[in-house]
Subunit: 387 residues, 4 copies
């Protein structure tokens, strides 16, 4: 292991908005924060339902006075405490991210927010501005992008090992909405989810991944959105043609109604010197093929593991790391960034984790998709949706 | 084995136009014809180069007087012989299919033709008309569609096991044009290849496969074509949005410049009751997932092998069959169809193998793709390219 | 998620002996303890090298007075503290487990010990006796056995879903000793490792796994041990015939010199009603085949996830869990067992995690293997090595 | 394609003993002989049941006077014909191979015989002697050894690419006897099958494969045989420790009662410079790992395809070849050997296909396995069973 030293000098304090039981997203954030020993989880407003919120906080052995019933009182109370939280995690419905993030940003808390950042371009731009004004860390939890092999792919491409990138194929294929919709499915409720469904909840992940890995920007896209399961009020199927700033082409396929696919996020990148393929459900491996050569199976911790991959690797090769470890990478990197900001001049370098600016692009991606699909799939420029 | 009886009462005589060494397509046709013992290969015009043609014929132990130097003399000579060939195989450059097929059709020979049928809609329609007039068998060698698991997929879908089909994802991803083009690459030469490159040579395969398997028709498509490798005069990358006659959606990704992909043809079909996935490079297996159920690995010859799959299965499960066996299935089915036509009334049922009518649709697919791509990827109706 | 409630009412305090940097085993134990929020890591004697020990403790933000330079002073000091550790983790060289465990057991601490328990049958029996006398929890960290799909396999077999077990095939294949040995490889040093090499360090894992999963006991075994890499002083290759108490047969293959295998632990179990196959490097999946049926891919969190698997599942299907999560399952289960012992009568039920009694069998397995191999591979009874 | 020229100058004539319908072994031999165009199948005694034999011959469009009712009359009649068969294929029950082969050898026919060669060491030695006396080709149909990637593995090992071979892991795992035995299962009938069951019918394949690929000889073995399914009269499960002439170790696991395994033949070879792994059910791929390097996926026809692999490759990479193509490789190589013997001095080089001498070793393997298992799995020398 050559895991880079990213060890804060003190343990940071985290609060969580949303994530009450029985869902899995709250425990996911908590475990990701705890795993490496850089965070204590000390406060939270876990649910709109006070009983659920309280039960969640007690399960987690939290002090009663820091189990809040709503985010506003949490933001206000924490702002007054000497041992106030360092950062807040926001894992609520899409349409609520904006107001919650704004409330904490304006009180100077660092923010860790689930995707999509917001559901309108205006709100996205506004959060970006507030974050800059507050001079805090704003991380967006595209956790898949923190997998070691993703970091390695990015590093290899940046180093030119694939040559000029020519094409990119991406998918996010799952089955969780294949059956008839239940009334409680918030992802089928525009009031909670916003104007896009699968594309907001899954598509933005793969959009971030493809720009993150390739270092390219999507200039324009052509989209065909559909709601194929009766009762679905939002998109459950999308196909996109992509055109990149360097002339590369690609596609993105996103669906939540494909029986036999649990969480099928993947990326395949092809350039003038070789190709790479990575599948999220098998995150410890990556296929790499130099042009005219044999395919190699690169492994996390294996003989060709790159520095960027090693920096986020915990256990030896052959001992699988997974989703929680990727998520924990974000928390560790955010902790390091917070400590660095406390102890030194503000760095202007782009951090390794996604930020509010990635969130702005993700919202633009969503809205461009919607626009193209409504206009017979003609190509639409992403730039038009970044205010 | 419950392989259906498809045994002709006599061995048929085959001639081949094209396929001279050193390429692999001629030997592929010959082996596919020989494998099941229903055909003798007795005549051929294997090459425009007389020496290559003669050497090929001698390798194959053929009589000297049936090794022809051009297709015209072959068609004329064979037409006069009492032991004339029953059928001709055409495995030449795309732009020559039309004239060769017409020459043999007009003399009453059955025809087995490589895809694409032609490179213009007019020629395609004309061949279909000539084939009907000659009352002969006209088979198009979409051999992948003859794999046992493809037959099973088709049968399961027709029986409603997947419910209403909602979405179809198809790929044909290869690497054979990833390196800088050589001057001898006929697939980069519009005079030999026609107006489309990868889409003509690979895309038409996957287009046939998706209609064959699902039983649906593509109504309209949106395409983005590109030539991404410097020096390529024809498309080497294409992405398509597909809309089907029953409301289903889908995509088709076709490229020949993806290092690490040898011959990556695949199809994934999802319906209201379940999903299926099949990958040509692993043709003996298919993934099947009933909705809310576990994924099952269906195998050729295995416990859930369907009658249509068993009918084209030669060896027990676990003993891999491959590309040549799929190709041989076409030859055996064509032999059976020829014998049936000799011995009974003309059947009006659609045969299990692709015909000239599938070729007409394949050409329409090519031309619609070209049209959409030239018009900012707007949707184009396939019907407009079927004369 | 239906993760069973196993939440302690207080956070427990853990100390660690061994595991100083730069190795990965110390951080692995720490992360496994922290992940679910049931433990604080508060004390340790991390290394025989005081500087390494101190640096490790500081990295982990520990109080200076609880960073010890040796296990004896740690055991004594902690025993006197009012906030003494609840349990100690022992992750040192094989030959030191006995003395360290004895020191903590005799002071009433719960113990979490790496495998193998000891390197002699006498020491193993003695520790088992001390643990019973101290009435504490003694857990052995066969972490692979805590993977959700392993739990499911065990539950399915116990429920009779595979019928009578007939055969068991197990492997632990890795490459970490394939190159010429380095002088610092403690696994090649009998003084640190004991009389067995690969079999002690890897073989005992798979031996535990096979008895754990099948519920059977190995009655006798025939072994062929070898040291195939020049310079190896201990076994690097072993093959075993296994005979089980119910008449089943099996084999175990264990090697550390197989290039291309990172951590290839697997188990395949076959009975009169079906078969199961699980591979540690792909821990979220398991193959299950009912007799005369199709193979099914069971997944962690998927439609057929069993209660025992769900109880140790954190995130939804398709979001991979891995080695650290399996390890963390042990820590969470041990925490629950400690709290239960504090708050109620001593349970006599076998806990879900491996205990000192499993350690005794593991040592017997090692010694029987050595004996059989020295005697021309004749069968040897395991019972003869349990004192 | 650089397929080596192995083209006979005339088409050879083949007769077949055994293989009548409905089994698949007769059609397999016929297709393998026909596929490359070097053989006509002109005579046969397909079944002890005259009606079955006749129906089979008619299906195959054979002349009535060459459809025989027994092998003796076939051998005698064919010996008198001017257009007599060149070679006979023997695909009958194990215990009948000896007498049939002797009858044809003594009349000067070349012989292609299924494995195992015989069921006693005496008969094996006698056939080897008769074959030498008759100066004919005697091929044994270990078809798996003729897969292109097996040829490549052998060539790479012979060239030293794996260094000194240290260990070999082999399996042949299937499920065809997992259910209760039927009365008609000839593999459960010692009169038809001989004294060994699974080991005779599958184990001999993998034994040949491991010596063929590694170029090593098994010196001694320790075996544990079992009949685990009630009603089985012969072995259905075997595990073996293997010791090679160069000091390498290995194991062989052979069973026919493992649900979920169709035809799981595999070989893994590890040496001082690297490792190789090949699985028969995915015959177009092989894993190769140089020591301390990344695993590479070698493919049939791919960039690192070796000359020996190319020589038995028909279609481009990515177009799967399978079991019939491997079988056909044997027929093509035997045809070339027959023609070479007709046209030149007798070569003393070992041919690429298995011969009667390999059959002698296979029988010794069977008998040594039986002997070791009866003697508490003590090691037994193979040499003791070669007369």
């Amino acid at each position: 292991m050559t895991r880079a030293k990213q060890v804060p000098k003190r343990r940071l304090r985290l609060g969580i908005v949303g994530g009450g039981r029985p869902g899995s997203i709250g425990p996911t954030h908590r475990r990701a924060a705890l795993m490496d020993g850089h965070w204590d989880v000390v406060a939270g407003a876990f649910s709109r339902n006070p009983e659920v919120g309280r039960a969640t906080g007690r399960d987690w052995l939290m002090d009663e006075d820091r189990i809040y019933t709503d985010y506003q009182s949490m933001a206000e109370s924490e702002a007054r405490r000497p041992d106030r939280i360092d950062a807040v995690t926001i894992c609520t419905y899409n349409t609520t991210h904006y107001e919650i993030a704004a409330a904490f940003l304006d009180r100077g808390f660092h923010v860790i927010c689930d995707k999509p950042l917001t559901t309108t371009a205006e709100n996205a731009a506004d959060l970006a501005q507030r974050a800059r004004k507050a001079n805090v860390i704003f991380a967006l939890t595209h956790a898949f992008s923190a997998c070691p092999m993703v970091r390695q792919a990015r590093e290899m491409i940046a180093a030119g090992e694939l040559g000029k990138i020519r094409s990119v194929a991406t998918e996010f294929v799952s089955e969780y909405q294949a059956d008839a919709p239940s009334s409680g499915d918030w992802q089928n409720n525009p009031e909670l989810c916003g104007p896009l469904g699968a594309v907001a909840n899954c598509g933005t992940h793969v959009f971030h991944l493809l720009e993150y890995v390739t270092g390219l920007k999507v200039n324009e896209l052509s989209a065909d959105l559909a709601s194929l399961v009766p009762g679905h009020r939002l998109d459950d199927h999308a196909t996109l043609h992509l055109r990149f700033d360097n002339g590369a082409r690609g596609f993105l396929w996103n669906t939540t109604i494909a029986p036999g696919n649990e969480n099928g996020l993947s990326i395949r990148v092809f350039g003038s010197k070789g190709g790479l393929e990575w599948w999220q459900e098998h995150p410890n491996h990556m296929r790499y093929t130099p042009i005219n050569g044999t395919t190699q199976i690169l492994t996390r911790g294996g003989p060709k593991a790159s520095p960027a991959a090693q920096a986020v690797t915990r256990v030896p090769s052959g001992h699988p790391e997974g989703y929680l470890e990727a998520f924990a990478n974000l928390y560790t990197e955010v902790a390091a960034a917070i400590i660095a900001r406390e102890h030194g001049p503000t760095s202007t370098a782009k951090p390794p984790f996604p930020t509010v600016d990635d969130g702005v692009r993700g919202v633009a991606f969503m809205l461009a998709t919607l626009q193209s699909s409504r206009d017979s799939s003609r190509f639409v420029a992403l730039e038009d949706f970044i205010l």
